[in-house]
Symmetry: C2
Subunit: 439 residues, 2 copies
């Protein structure tokens, strides 16, 4: 399909082609965004522009007062040459918005299959590092990731980390469950001596407001830095000024669309990273690089686990239903300091029955931030008596991933409890400092 | 049980009695807190002090270098006289930490039964208002509240609001599910002309660090102000400087223990309230007082509803299990812009089956902050095709309460959808401003 002759003329005069950034002025208003092709569904006499908000608007030829090409669409760059003066990092791509682009037919976003397409659009990367580009055998949006993807990914990470020439690993990933994957890698990769930087983008790389390029650049800087942590590197503020590198077990997606959606939970971010190559540690509790260490893969995982929320009217029979289906452990999101409904629809007998039958029940805070303390109220003490174990200041999502990992190692109740309360990857702190609240 | 003779002597010399605030210095350290009685369980030769952190410590008589009484325990004040120059407000108490005190036997917190006990410890209240004190027929911690409590409470609120002499209503309540109750009152109380201020405290009123007094004082100032909104009034910062009054449908408990645990979601707080009586509107979208309005009680509610989370490995058969048990509607917390797992353990057929059988499924954001937009990704469009309806920028907890309220009014699928997407109590905004993110 094509635009009308009138629009074709306007576009030619402005030397504007599909994918270019254009500016169109009509009476009193100016729209700037990406020129979309005419797809057949719309009026061929209307220019379709994808605004930075992500929405498409159509401006009819009659209304156009001025049309200028603001920026030429980026042409794919040639692959960068290997530069022995720069560190090598591996980029493992799994899918998600960061490797997606706008589908001109639907105006929606579709997944790219080749990570090279992403890299070629980010020539700045070659200023800092040599890139080894690795594709996983799957390419999915993150809401469909599961423990098998985490295991495949951890194996690939371990392989790359144990290469002498690789300074660190970047994982590109959809953002929806990014923090589950970063938690899984935190537990699966033992004896870590190099950084594993998990990143994604909230807006696809061909959008003017995309965070993909800066997130990837800052991730590369972090992957080459003097750290040995699994973490998430994403925009630290709504502006394009710096990224935050946050521990993989202490981070959560807190906004549907903002570029600074990932926030540290109960701990300060590990570092601030600027796209010019600067990096500032913001947390003293960072393990430093030791390239001599061989990373050990420990990815045993019990997938039959569940996370449940308590709330007014919540149904505790979900516990029984899931146990009947083979569920081996629970993370229950308790209210406040660690309470569950105990009058009508009481959760207490269901928790007790689960624990008595050898299915452990752990508590995490529904409030997301803060530490549980079940001994303050008699209602909290009743949950302890039922056999539930509060997990201090561990994030519920991290607790869920950790529970699968722990159950992959032991079925002994005492050992499960002990492992859940042992700090393996910065997921528990002994004493709360009040830091990491809505930073 | 009693302290040892040595400790009794030290206490007598300092004129310190149980409940007083004392300061005890040992070699190099000074502890300040409330003098606890000797309960028999501990060493009678150790003075037990409840620190402001909530923890008890024992200092043995040998170590005491200095012991001073810092502040006498507050004696209950006489009830304030009615002052015709001041507005009358009703305080309806339901239970929770704000009407609790430390149990000397356990060191934990137990619930008071008489709201007068609370009021008598807050003589400042009488400076601003005349108080009508109302007890509900229940006194419970908020994790055990359910829709029947919300209905009883709404009825009591309506009765008080429709009294000519009452300027506004305060509800004191446990904090764990405070935001569910504030949402319920927002929908149940129609044609509101006066403020309904829901408040609680994170630390009981007999602790040095308690937020009870200031929260109640600021709530009284808000209840007498020129507004007609249901909202939560709690500490706005970690310091004791001001409270935030936040819309009842736009607020969530975000921290287990901090006094500034309640945060506005996707909207700026309505007002800042200082304990000296000042109040500053911080949001233009506030309905103003109209004392001539008669509030209408509309508390029909369908309790057979559920809220479910999606996450890697989450089990969509919970939908079927709950429908078999009589569940009439769901709020599903979707990831990102509104996706659900669609590959292994896909939620799509379960959602489709529910909707096809007349059980509506609505989507809210698991990220808590932000707006859903299911049309960006094909995965989101698939959820729409399955029949789920995304609820814009509505908070999941608010959506859950609203769903019960809507289903109390109609069983017609089109009407349910229409009502869920109609803004009744500020729960939806048409366009996101980016305000109300981690303020």
């Amino acid at each position: 399909m094509a635009y009308s002759v009138r629009i074709d003329r306007l576009l030619k005069a402005a030397k504007a082609a599909t994918g270019d950034r254009i500016s169109v002025s009509s009476a009193g208003r100016t729209f700037e965004g990406m020129l979309m092709p005419q797809t057949g569904a719309g009026d061929p006499d209307k220019i379709v522009i994808k605004l930075d908000s992500g929405y498409n608007i159509g401006v009819s030829a009659d209304e156009v007062r001025k049309l200028v090409q603001a920026k030429r669409a980026v042409a794919p760059a040639a692959p960068a040459r290997f530069d022995p003066a720069k560190p090598a990092i591996a980029i493992i791509s799994t899918g998600g918005t960061i490797t997606s682009k706008i589908d001109y037919n639907t105006g929606g976003v579709t997944s790219l299959t080749k990570p090279e397409e992403l890299l070629s659009s980010m020539p700045d990367l070659a200023k800092f590092v040599n890139v080894r580009s690795i594709s996983m055998p799957f390419n999915i949006m993150s809401e469909s990731m599961n423990h098998e993807h985490w295991q495949l990914l951890a194996r690939e990470c371990a392989k790359e980390l144990n290469r002498k020439d690789v300074r660190g690993v970047i994982v590109t990933h959809g953002t929806d469950t990014l923090h589950f994957t970063s938690a899984a890698l935190s537990f699966f990769l033992r004896n870590l001596g190099k950084p594993v930087v998990v990143t994604g983008s909230q807006r696809s790389s061909d959008r003017g407001s995309s965070d993909a390029a800066m997130n990837l650049l800052c991730s590369a800087i972090t992957a080459a830095a003097n750290m040995a942590e699994v973490g998430i590197c994403m925009h630290g503020s709504v502006s394009d000024n710096y990224c935050s590198f946050t521990r993989g077990t202490r981070v959560r997606k807190m906004h549907t669309s903002r570029r600074d959606a990932f926030k540290p939970i109960n701990e300060t971010a590990l570092a601030k990273v600027w796209p010019n190559g600067e990096i500032e540690r913001t947390n003293p509790a960072v393990r430093v690089r030791d390239d001599s260490k061989a990373v050990e893969l420990d990815d045993r995982f019990e997938p039959n686990i569940a996370m449940l929320q308590t709330y007014p009217g919540s149904d505790p029979t979900l516990i029984d239903h899931l146990i009947n289906k083979g569920c081996r452990g629970f993370v229950v999101q308790a209210t406040g300091l660690g309470q569950v409904p105990s009058k009508t629809r009481s959760w207490l007998p269901h928790i007790k029955r689960a624990v008595d039958s050898g299915v452990p029940v752990f508590l995490a805070a529904e409030t997301i931030f803060g530490r549980l303390n079940c001994s303050v109220y008699s209602e909290g003490r009743a949950v302890l008596e039922a056999g539930a174990v509060p997990l201090e200041d561990m994030l519920a999502e991290t607790a869920y991933v950790k529970l699968g990992w722990v159950l992959g190692h032991t079925k002994d109740m005492a050992e499960i409890r002990k492992m859940m309360l042992t700090n393996y990857a910065g997921e528990i702190t002994e004493r709360s400092t009040g830091e990491g609240y809505l930073e």
